[in-house]
């Protein structure tokens, strides 16, 4: 009896990785899923924070995919290792701060390490030639195989028939004839295959599953690096770029203002790490002050904070400023008028 082969599937939570894994499971291969958490994954976070997203299901789509497939899922924290990918991408960025090609090389490389450590035979991804402008092109797909070190252990079941044979195909671990020849940006073949497999209610993120493909998020990240004078970040930075209005009057500081109760609740957890303030005389949002503001800067921050509170139209409001050590003081400021916050301050 021949040995049952084992493959690890990169599971993003989207439709393509779901279909790729299912295609290989159908061929009798033992498949387990792997999902890398970079910190920039759209999954869950903002849904958990923002009230406006409350109607959306809070499920983690990678876990949901694994459950549909009946496979184990290993979620790996790569936050620290990923910094080098984002800060120094060999192949550069896409339309925003998305280093898609380097990212895919990194993830396949990590998967290669994983199969070596866990005695698996090959790697599956849901890539489709021509699907994405940077990482899923005919000329870049060999780059991923080569630079990740996976070489012909990397099988792309959805477009395998358009690519050179891989080891699992040559060795007969999988039947190439039962793989697919999808290409281009059309989603019709995927929808048809999903229908064949009986999958419904799958996730279809329009801009992918990464915040770095989002212009507004990327602008905030670039602003953060510019203000700090170096490309550095930690997980708290990554999280806080996802919430609030970010207003930067000068390079020394920026004000992060909660837009709704969900964000305010989330930002409460950072009160010990940042100077923070809110209106004392009227209802208003919590504001975190990032950077090293002067006393004068704090008064500007207080005027901005007051602008977003219920006292925005009164002559003067009281604002409570809390330092990181917990000490408090109250100042009285005139809230900025609707046109007094320059558009250029909005990050």
């Amino acid at each position: 009896m021949s040995k049952q082969r084992k493959a690890v599937a990169l599971i993003s939570g989207g439709l393509d990785s779901l279909l790729a894994a299912k295609t290989i499971i159908e061929q009798g291969v033992h498949v387990e899923g792997i999902n890398f958490f970079t910190g920039f994954c759209v999954e869950g976070h903002t849904h958990a924070i923002r009230k406006k997203d409350k109607d959306k299901p809070k499920r983690n789509n990678a876990l949901w995919s694994a459950e549909q497939l009946g496979i184990k899922l290993h979620i790996i924290d790569v936050i620290d290792e990923y910094k080098d990918v984002l800060i120094n991408p060999k192949h550069g960025y896409g339309a925003n701060m998305n280093p898609c090609l380097d990212c895919k090389v990194f993830m396949v490389h990590k998967a290669k390490q994983w199969i070596e450590e866990n005695d698996f035979d090959f790697i599956i991804t849901g890539e489709v030639i021509g699907q994405r402008p940077m990482s899923q092109r005919k000329d870049t797909m060999p780059v991923i195989s080569r630079e990740s070190g996976a070489d012909d252990l990397l099988l792309r079941p959805l477009c395998a028939q358009n690519l050179p044979m891989t080891l699992p195909e040559r060795e007969g671990w999988v039947d190439r004839e039962k793989l697919h020849d999808f290409s281009g940006r059309t989603r019709k073949p995927q929808m048809a295959l999903a229908n064949d497999f009986g999958f419904e209610d799958f996730a279809q993120p329009a801009g992918g599953c990464c915040f770095l493909t989002d212009k507004s998020y990327s602008d905030k990240l670039v602003d953060l690096w510019s203000a700090r004078g170096k490309k550095e970040y930690d997980l708290d930075d990554v999280m806080l770029l996802k919430v609030g209005r970010h207003i930067r009057p000068n390079k020394q500081f920026k004000v992060i203002i909660a837009r709704e109760d969900g964000e305010a609740r989330f930002m409460q957890g950072y009160k010990k790490d940042f100077i923070n303030m809110n209106c004392a005389s009227h209802r208003g949002p919590l504001a975190l002050i990032d950077g090293a503001p002067s006393e004068e800067d704090l008064l500007v921050a207080a005027q901005i904070t007051a602008r977003y509170g219920q006292g925005r139209d009164v002559e003067m409001v009281d604002v409570m400023i809390r330092d990181k050590d917990g000490s408090e003081r109250q100042v009285q400021v005139k809230p900025f008028g609707i046109d007094e916050i320059p558009q250029a301050w909005f990050v």
């Binding site: 976070h45 958990a48 924070i49 809070k58 499920r59 949901w64 496979i71 957890g269």
Partner: protein, 74 residues
């Protein structure tokens, strides 16, 4: 059977799931882990993770914006 606790407060999903996964790796079958979180998403994600990895959720409850799950390692 050992009983252990995991504080996953202030973490947003999937970090509480990752911390739970890493903690469970160090425990034996039949051991019990109590996880306390502040992201309501864990009430969906940790049970899903348990289902696909063969662990059992014994109990869940929430109080004062904290969400607690008690898991038996499978």
């Amino acid at each position: 059977m050992a009983r252990e606790n995991l504080n996953a407060k202030r973490l947003l999903c999937p970090m509480p799931v990752i911390r739970t996964q890493d903690k469970v790796k160090t425990m034996a079958t039949g051991d019990v882990l109590e996880v306390v979180c502040t992201d309501p998403g864990v009430m969906q994600d940790i049970p899903a993770w348990c289902r696909i990895n063969g662990h059992k959720v014994l109990e869940t409850h929430s109080e004062d914006m904290e969400y607690t799950l008690v898991i038996e390692v499978g």
